[in-house]
């Protein structure tokens, strides 16, 4: 009899849903959990979502409950032959059930609109400005006022709003159009800079797209020190899944220390060391075609970094290559040997380096603290 199976399965469904809701609240390791906001901007969203969610749940319970009730109460009873009265409608009722949801939605619309404007506004007072430049498939972070340029790991001070300008560096802008401040700050001119990305650190803010040709803005803020993960949220090609990032929120003094460390030149490795050999390889090889390191010079010119991450303080970042590998010797060597093999579509090609070269280069990179 379908009825018994119907009610039993529905009970199972309800139990499942309850479990689901509970599990959502209890998930460990949820560094990207939108339901665990860690700053005022993410909180504002959460404070809007939760009541709407509960209203939706209430509507769900009422409507599904009604549905359940109706299919049980009015199921065909064996032996019944009469055809029910052919009711065509009830205009008053239909008008009522059109107006009531409309009113509820007006109620939802008001905080929605105020939320839109609040999140779009540039905060006044002390603000940290950051340029976020999207590349295929890594994040560049440039602090215009601090003269710091890094990749994949974004350090911010707690309690201070961070006003991020989001742009894609793009090819061909040079000489054709004046890049905007964000683009100018970025390392552009490389293939793979022309697609849309989306910058998303769920616990600190909603997401905002990185669109070639325009500069978008996003405000984020962390209330507590910690590491918050994020990733690209707009399909951008082969390694879209591997375009991750970390936000490290620090106390103001720790943040200042970090800034000073980032502003310093790279250390020169001691002569004769394997690292010195690596530096030599770096300056004479293809590396300087894309990567800048602040400190070493080629023909008295500083390295200009058209297209790849700035490596000056690589070891101060606990992840690299779009934050998919921990920054350690083994991973760096694996990467160096054949980047596209470990990251599909990587614009850093396999240079066919010998084991010797790889070890030397990685030894040098490991000095870039």
């Amino acid at each position: 009899m379908p009825l018994r199976r119907l009610s039993r399965t529905l009970l199972e469904a309800v139990a499942l849903i309850a479990l689901v809701v509970l599990a959502a609240a209890c998930a460990p390791n949820a560094t990207q959990d939108t339901l665990k906001p860690a700053g005022p901007y993410a909180e504002r969203i959460d404070n809007l979502f939760r009541p709407v969610f509960w209203i939706a749940t209430a509507v769900f319970v009422v409507v599904e409950g009604l549905l359940l009730y109706l299919v049980v109460r009015y199921r065909h009873r064996k032996g019944r032959r009469e055809i029910p009265p052919q009711v065509h409608g009830n205009q008053r009722l239909e008008i009522a059930w059109t107006i009531v949801p409309a009113i509820i939605l007006v109620g939802v619309a008001i905080p929605t609109v105020s939320g839109i404007y609040a999140l779009a506004a540039k905060p006044s007072g002390q603000v940290l400005e950051v340029n976020v430049i999207g590349h295929q498939w890594w994040w560049e972070f440039d602090y215009p006022d601090l003269d710091v340029n890094t990749a994949n790991v974004l350090h911010i001070p707690v309690g201070e709003p961070v006003y991020a300008s989001l742009c894609a560096a793009g090819t061909g802008y040079k000489g054709v159009t004046a890049p905007n401040a964000c683009q100018e700050a970025g390392s552009y001119g490389n293939v793979g800079d022309d697609v849309i990305h989306s910058f998303w650190v769920p616990r600190l803010a909603g997401k905002q797209d990185v669109v070639p040709g325009r500069t978008n803005h996003l405000v984020l803020q962390a209330d507590r020190p910690g590491t918050y993960t994020g990733q690209c949220a707009e399909f951008c090609g082969l390694s879209h899944a591997y375009m991750r990032l970390e936000v490290v929120a620090q106390t103001p003094s720790d943040f200042e220390a970090w800034v000073r460390q980032q502003q310093a030149d790279a250390v020169t490795p001691p002569q004769g060391s394997l690292a010195a050999t690596g530096l030599n390889e770096f300056l004479n090889g293809a590396c300087i075609g894309c990567h800048a390191i602040q400190g070493p010079k080629v023909n008295d010119q500083p390295l200009t970094q058209p297209g790849g991450p700035n490596l000056t303080h690589l070891m101060s970042r606990d992840c690299f290559a779009g934050c998919i590998f921990a920054t350690n010797r083994a991973n760096l060597e694996r990467w160096m040997r054949d980047p596209p093999a470990v990251k599909p579509g990587s614009w850093m090609p396999d240079y066919g380096l010998s084991d010797q070269q790889v070890r030397a280069l990685v030894a040098y990179l490991m000095t870039l603290k």
């Binding site: 059930w97 929605t112 793009g170 669109v211």
Partner: protein
């Protein structure tokens, strides 16, 4: 029995001798009978459903655990792109078209659609487009830029993949546009005498709104696809930021079509549910006018909400506010229908046949999808939800839990009418329960995955995010769905082993298609019926006493005897019996013309001379068609 005339063997008038086969392979290639074309659409759509489902299974296998290694990145990108393209353009739309083609003339009391050869052409163009897109797998790469093909990725990524996308969708777009003209004119212009617009079945209203949505939305995506094609192939700069172009223009073009498209996808299923519920609750649809008006409202407002797919693009607070509000507004006519359906069940005499089960599940699941849609309209919340698995959950609840379930209700409901055999009820119920459980197990957890930070379109995720459990559950659910579909297939195949002896009206239904035999004769109705009310067939079978009690009308009078498969043969019949019924003759030219399209497509990608050849074939097909008389 009416005599039917088809063009005589070798009849002159056209470029080629007129095909005459009525059975066999060639009769299907040259058919212009809306019923056969409907069956062709249905079978082809179902085949694509299986392929799209297999793509989904691979996706789920890849995502079942963290750091999955089943598919390479490039294959994964092809699979999720093709899954979306297939399900939307090659399954739900053609499956809806199958029902429209088969049942529009039958429900409005006509013998065929307004332009039978155009009808055939739309099927062949659809088939050509679908095969063309899939041929990408063998010719360098299937589309891999997502079903939404955002520029600049879709215009700069090397390879021909997105050329197959643009050209293939242009072909299916031609099919749908032509179909829209045909079916809209049919519904507006070919209704039986007495069938005013407000005596049409709701399914007809939904069909009409869908055709108008197609007619006005498809041109926009056509332009967008040409722009993408030209950017890739001919060096234009529509979406090229280095030349001052705006990638967001593509998004506007796409979603101006894409949003009406989702209503194109759901309204047919809503129409089916609006037919099925009254039949199995034994009372009319509650609030017919409201349901009709809400469908029309959805059609109109549907053109005003497109940028709600673009809340995170950076259009600015004014635009986001406007579209957030318009999206909340459209929730009203959408939600209202739910209450009308509940009102239909209230005080009914509900029989839980398989079609009814699917229709009831549609309501339950569509509510979930609709509610998550409302949370999307809360724009700041959408900044977290967009581009995550929360959205994937939302649209699968409305498109699978809604549209596919509704279409399955239609399949089970109308199977006896189309094939003359019933589907097995017990197997049907097994199909249903497995599908309901599998579906909810697959897509329910995706709400959580999205809220926990899992973006869309990623081929793997790290173990550190805690997403493994629900992904595994979703994968298990997906295999349950696959099992349920297999069971349906077995049910379908088994039905053909049974004799073709279904009654004309096995469900005691309400609309005109049940007044003719199962399957209907080629000319549909012996006499074109004269219609006096909504639910015309029901009123021929039953009348109400003064007290509102429903009693059967005595047979043999002005009513119909469903067992004998004739339409109203009494004094209300249109014309005297014995006059010849003129049917449109079969034709090669729709298929010939459609053949030109993929030739043009391959030509644009590979060798331009082939495009010229294709254009010649297309032109020749159209000319042959124009010169050939529609009927003798």
């Amino acid at each position: 029995m009416a005599t039917v005339s088809v063009p005589a063997e070798g009849a002159r008038g056209g470029l080629l001798r007129r095909p005459t086969a009525t059975t066999g392979f060639w009769s299907w290639i040259t058919t212009v009978d809306h019923k056969r074309i409907g069956i062709l659409y249905g079978i082809t759509a179902f085949a694509f459903f299986l392929i799209g489902g297999i793509e989904a299974l691979f996706i789920r296998l890849q995502l079942a655990q963290p750091d999955g290694k089943i598919l390479s990145a490039s294959t994964y990108n092809e699979f999720f792109t093709m899954h979306g393209v297939t399900m939307i353009f090659l399954v739900v739309m053609p499956l809806s078209a199958a029902f429209f083609n088969y049942f529009i003339p039958l429900q409005i009391g006509a013998r065929d659609v307004a332009f039978p050869r155009l009808n055939a052409f739309t099927y062949w163009a659809f088939l050509a487009g679908g095969l063309f897109i899939y041929s990408g797998f063998f010719l360098g790469g299937a589309p891999n830029g997502g079903w939404f093909g955002y520029a600049p990725l879709s215009t700069v990524e090397p390879g021909n993949n997105m050329l197959f996308y643009a050209l293939g969708l242009l072909m299916t777009g031609i099919a749908s546009t032509a179909s829209a003209m045909n079916l809209a004119v049919t519904i507006i212009n070919m209704r039986a005498p007495g069938m005013t617009m407000f005596r049409m079945p709701v399914f007809m209203w939904m069909a009409l709104v869908v055709q108008l949505l197609l007619a006005f939305a498809l041109p926009i995506i056509t332009v967008g696809l040409f722009q993408m094609l030209f950017d890739r192939r001919f060096g234009t700069h529509f979406f090229d930021p280095a030349a001052g172009g705006d990638p967001v223009l593509w998004q506007h073009m796409f979603w101006l079509f894409g949003h009406p498209e989702v209503y194109i996808l759901i309204l047919p299923a809503m129409g089916i549910v609006s037919e099925v519920l009254p039949v199995f609750a034994r009372k009319p649809l509650f609030g017919y006018e409201f349901v009709v008006f809400s469908g029309i409202a959805i059609g109109f407002i549907g053109f005003g909400v497109w940028a709600h797919h673009m809340f995170a693009v950076g259009l600015g607070p004014v635009a986001n506010t406007a579209f957030g509000i318009s999206t909340l507004i459209i929730a009203v006519p959408t939600g209202v229908k739910i209450f009308n359906w509940l009102g239909t069940l209230w005080k009914g005499d509900i029989r839980f046949t398989t079609p009814m089960l699917f229709a009831v599940a549609f309501i339950g699941q569509f509510v979930v999808g609709g509610l998550s849609g409302v949370t999307h309209a809360v724009v700041p919340a959408d900044y977290q939800q967009t581009d995550t698995y929360y959205v994937v959950a939302h649209f699968h609840y409305v498109l699978f839990g809604g549209a596919i379930f509704g279409l399955f209700a239609g399949v089970y409901y109308w199977w006896p009418k189309v094939f003359g055999r019933m589907l097995n009820e017990r197997v049907g119920k097994l199909n249903f329960w497995l599908m309901v459980i599998g579906f909810n197990l697959t897509f329910g957890p995706m709400h959580i995955l999205g809220l926990q930070g899992m973006p869309r379109r990623i081929q793997s995720y790290p173990a550190t995010l805690g997403l493994g459990i629900w992904n595994m559950v979703a994968t298990i659910g997906a295999f349950l769905i696959a099992t349920s579909v297999l069971i349906f297939l077995l049910n379908a195949i088994a039905s053909f082993r049974r004799p073709r002896d279904a009654a004309a009206d096995p469900w005691d239904a309400r609309t005109l298609e049940w007044s003719v035999s199962s399957p209907p004769p080629p000319y549909n109705f012996e006499e074109i019926p004269v219609v006096h009310s909504l639910d015309e067939l029901w009123h021929r079978k039953y009348a109400e006493t003064e007290g509102g009690v429903v009693v059967p009308v005595p047979a043999g009078g002005a009513g119909t005897d469903p067992a004998h498969g004739g339409s109203g043969a009494g004094p209300e019949g249109h014309g005297a019996g014995g006059h010849a019924i003129h049917l449109p003759g079969p034709s090669y030219f729709p298929a010939v013309a459609a053949l030109g399209l993929p030739l043009i497509g391959y030509g644009v990608i590979f060798h331009l001379w082939m495009a010229v050849a294709g254009a010649v074939v297309l032109l020749a097909g159209v000319y042959g068609w124009a010169i050939e008389p529609a009927s003798e």
